[in-house]
């Protein structure tokens, strides 16, 4: 069965510092991995995805994520955090032939000025 773990409920960083939001996954076969962001009282917005190829994936708003097959991880990163990055971040995974995307519980990111 597919599963996603986001081990941190909350991440706090200072503006201008690098940020990392962690995600590990379990899936049979090749994983298809996604990051979404949810701003207050809004729906989710797609940030980036890994399907195949280069392990470093670049996405919207300066975010990137690194796929690590041996560690079954897909951590979200940004070199320099902005206060406006404060939001709820979800990691998600799909397996081959699957419609049933599994989402992590979410990590709340607070960026302090």
């Amino acid at each position: 069965a597919q599963s996603v773990a986001q081990p941190e409920d909350q991440v706090n960083v200072a503006e201008g510092n690098p940020l990392t939001v962690k995600c590990t996954y379990s899936v049979s076969g090749n994983p298809y991995l996604f990051w979404y962001v949810q701003y207050p009282n809004r729906g989710l917005q797609f940030l980036l995805k890994y399907i195949t190829g280069d392990n470093l994936v670049k996405g919207s708003y300066g975010f990137e994520a690194e796929f690590n097959k041996s560690q079954t991880s897909f951590h979200l990163k940004k070199p320099s955090a902005l206060v406006s990055d404060s939001a709820l971040y979800f990691c998600a995974v799909n397996g081959p032939g699957g419609f049933k995307t599994i989402f992590g519980a979410g990590t709340r990111l607070f960026v302090k000025a």
Binding site: G43, L44, G95
Partner: protein, 115 residues
């Protein structure tokens, strides 16, 4: 935002009453999904559709039914609402080809309270 609307945006209903939530898209996407969002659980898939009149269950489908009679509309019905169905409901769409590799686009959500 992608062309996805949900109605109503807010609803309060009583236990035991039926409730229907509507998702409407203008993107002509093939796949549509209903999720519920609850604290500590992230998003959980209720039902999905892979075409007109083609639907299937997700991980938390008990107590819910869906219908899709047109490409643009996906209805979620709570047959007899219970307090455990108090949640925020999101519709999503995707649809260029293979569902498992496509990102999803989400509607604004419906906040449902069952008293």
């Amino acid at each position: 935002d992608a062309g996805i609307t949900q109605s109503p945006r807010h609803k309060v209903t009583e236990t035991g009453t039926p409730v229907t939530l509507r998702c409407h898209q203008t993107e002509n996407h093939r796949y549509m999904y209903w999720y519920r969002q609850d604290p500590g659980h992230g998003l959980r898939l209720i039902h999905y559709s892979y075409g007109v009149k083609d639907t299937d269950k997700g991980e938390v489908s008990d107590g819910y039914s869906v219908s899709r009679s047109k490409t643009e509309d996906f209805l979620l019905t709570l047959e007899s609402a219970t307090s455990s169905q108090t949640s925020v409901y999101f519709c999503a769409i995707s649809g260029s080809g293979r569902a498992e590799v496509d990102e999803q686009y989400f509607g604004p959500g419906t906040r449902l309270t069952v008293t």
